[in-house]
């Protein structure tokens, strides 16, 4: 029921794949590990893959908004993809898509950020 987080780097893009449930308890750890990844690796843009995220509440929104602001402050982009209907309800209700971009899948997100869309490791 807890949260699994996987990071991958593709050229200058950090891909964050979330799996499980993102609540206040998980938010603190996620924030820390995510910030660490953003400071490494010469990463610029971010893709958040929500495909396997089955639950999220407003503590999750806080983490997303926090990272979005950091990325945007450096003139870079953050794109969400592969959202499930469960999690989409919260994003719709809270108007998050007026701020962040949402695309269907990782391939589209990579393309949007100018990364050649071949196989991802």
């Amino acid at each position: 029921m807890s949260l699994q987080v996987k990071f991958a780097v593709r050229e200058n893009v950090l891909v964050v794949r979330l799996e499980g449930e993102l609540d206040h308890h998980e938010a603190t750890n996620l924030r820390e590990s995510w910030q660490k990844e953003l400071n490494n690796n010469g990463v610029e843009h971010v893709i958040v893959n929500l495909q396997k995220l089955s639950f999220m509440d407003s503590s999750g929104l806080g983490v997303m908004l926090g990272r979005y602001k950091e990325v945007q402050a450096k003139g870079n982009e953050m794109v969400l993809c592969s959202i499930s209907p469960e999690v989409r309800r919260l994003f719709d209700m809270s108007g998050m898509f007026k701020i962040m971009k949402l695309v269907d899948d990782e391939a589209s997100a990579l393309e949007m950020l100018g990364v050649a869309s071949c196989e991802m490791k």
Partner: protein, 146 residues
């Protein structure tokens, strides 16, 4: 027929998922839609998180009290803390208002509760604690009443 559960637990963030899972298991007797179940898990998570971080300011030896009752397809959820209470409820309810921006709170908790439930009543007294009472009629049973 009325069915009731009361869950009391230590005020630590590990128990946020316990609260969601228990309420979800309890209300699933009413065959809620996937959307309704998600809404209910979300509002429970919001109110319990608030009790832990705002009510008790992360003191780990307090208790959160959760009551859930189902009666003819109506769900009533009450979440209570004996924490520091809310000075001004009208300000607290405003979308995006948070007293803890440094903790990356989004200030959307109450807005989400009010959107996902039919009714939300907040009772709070500084120094005494906060009680959130929420109700929701499930659509499946609402249709049967017409």
């Amino acid at each position: 027929m009325r069915n009731e559960m009361t869950l009391e637990f230590t005020s630590i963030s590990e128990n946020e998922s316990l609260a969601r899972v228990s309420v979800a298991a309890f209300v699933s007797q009413l065959n809620p839609t996937m959307e309704e179940l998600t809404d209910i898990k979300t509002v429970v998570s919001e109110a319990v998180t608030n009790a832990i971080i705002h009510g008790y300011e992360e003191q780990k030896d307090e208790k959160v009290l959760l009551t859930c009752a189902i009666d003819d397809g109506e769900i009533e959820i009450i979440i209570q803390d004996r924490g520091q209470g809310i000075e001004n409820i009208d300000i607290a309810k405003e979308p995006l208002y948070t007293s803890k921006p440094e903790w990356e709170r989004s200030g959307m908790g109450f807005t989400i509760m009010e959107n996902f439930m039919d009714r939300v009543d907040i009772t709070s007294e500084p120094g005494v604690g906060t009680t959130i009472r929420m109700t929701k009629q499930l659509t499946s049973t609402r249709a049967l009443c017409n």
